[in-house]
Symmetry: C2
Subunit: 80 residues, 2 copies
């Protein structure tokens, strides 16, 4: 099974990296851009063949390592 | 309009960050994980109200700044 994980900063948490990207985009002439937020996207393969168990396992990984749950949200999607 | 951008390493490009995550997951007891690849996920708002123009603009941003097209792929999705 393949899983895709999105890790994004929670609302209200400052995103200096996103701000820097936004500033650079303005400098390049893309003036209509605002609210840039940068997160992480992780793809991984699992040996598990059960969809529900696979999702639970990846959510455990998010809490244990992939995401900092104090400031970040995670969303897990199991693909085939 | 809101846009979501996924930036991922091209196939064949080494991903030391993904490898490090994979190694750490094995160390935490998640033995069934393989092929971890880490990419970027960017969300942004646009003043443009035309879906097609918005997508084109974000693709231009990807080529100009967000992605290194030598080693990275990008995928743009325009949401409402």
């Amino acid at each position: 099974m393949k899983a895709r994980v999105h890790i994004t900063l929670k609302n209200g948490v400052l995103d200096p990296q996103g701000k820097a990207v936004e500033h650079a985009l303005h400098g390049l002439g893309f003036g209509g851009v605002s609210g840039v937020r940068q997160g992480k996207f992780i793809e991984l393969n699992l040996t598990s063949t059960d969809r529900v168990a696979a999702k639970k396992e990846v959510e455990d990984m998010c809490r244990a390592l992939l995401a900092n749950t104090v400031i970040e949200n995670y969303a897990v999607e199991v693909v085939d």
